[in-house]
Homo-oligomer: 197 residues x 2
């Protein structure tokens, strides 16, 4: 079995922490997730590599699950307003389709060993992040992806054709979903804080 | 660390296999996934507990990610036609909201040990099931959830208000997505068949 190389793991943890501090200084860190990343780094047997507190994006893609083939036109980690989305709809011709996608929070936590990874997974599930799982096992560590079921694409435009009937309703709904994700993040914070990791 | 109890694991595997055979007899087994389940049971160190080849459902729920609070009104593992969806839209008042949800394939594979689980995970990712992960580790075995990013809800009705502008377009798109999922399942079949598990 692939074993985690503890020395290598500590190097990677140190690198990730330095990156976090530098991102913080530049202003790259998503403000709604800063306290959780700090909490994670206060625990000695885990670290965080990438994270997002939840966001609303508009992408041009044939299908909303595409990444490499998709063009991101708009991205915001806070609620959006109708006017800004309307502006994009008016001015942006879709090469394929314009999807407005609400994504809940996502965190990658790298654990020192399988016991710690299993505990992180349990904590995440208990906090309502039911779609979490261990996504890689290697000498670098064991990576747990913490993710909820909150991921909802809304089709706005199909080539030239605006397919949404009531944009303000859709925007309102998207914002509610985004905030639901942010609330779950607070629950995760409490559960992680109280866990013996 | 929690170890898999091999004797218990074999009992669980036997139970799952008997359930599969009985479901097959009753006609419960989704026909698009039968050959994959048979393939999985032909490998000695894994078994399958639950699986779905992909489906289109209509649920009444405030949010499409809800399960316990949602009512499933319609479910089909094959493409749907506009008339049947239109009928539901006309006759069914939504308590909350009616969502038509396209889900790609999902499989739960229980592995005898972590090495096997890690191999299954790699095979799944290589076959395009990028959202796969190990979701539990216990004496019963190590469960890998194999899942793609294909999961798309379409809001059809908000209480009394039909919010979809062009139903035939949405139905066509949903069917295309469903079939994309089924194609990936065939890729998974080939990759699993050729893997040393």
């Amino acid at each position: 079995m692939t074993q985690v190389d503890e020395r290598l793991w500590r190097v990677k943890r140190e690198e990730a922490y330095r990156r976090f501090l530098s991102d913080l200084e530049i202003g790259y860190v998503d403000r709604d997730i800063k306290h959780i990343i700090e909490l994670i780094f206060s625990k000695k047997r885990i670290f965080s590599t990438s994270s997002c507190s939840g966001r609303i994006t508009i992408v041009d893609a044939l299908y909303p699950w595409q990444r490499d083939e998709a063009t991101v036109i708009f991205k915001k980690h806070e609620p959006v307003d109708v006017a800004e989305i309307e502006g994009i709809l008016k001015n942006q011709k879709a090469l394929y389709r314009l999807w407005m996608i609400v994504s809940g929070p996502i965190l990658h936590i790298n654990a020192l060993n399988l016991d710690v990874a299993a505990t992180v997974l349990t904590v995440a599930r208990n906090a309502g992040f039911k779609h979490s799982g261990i996504i890689s096992i290697g000498s670098n560590g064991i990576v747990v992806e913490i993710v909820s079921g909150i991921w909802v694409p809304f089709l706005l435009k199909d080539e030239d054709d605006v397919v949404v009937k009531d944009l303000s309703k859709v925007v309102k709904l998207a914002n509610t979903m985004l905030l639901e994700g942010k609330q779950r993040l607070e629950k995760l914070f409490k559960f992680l804080r109280d866990a013996d990791i």
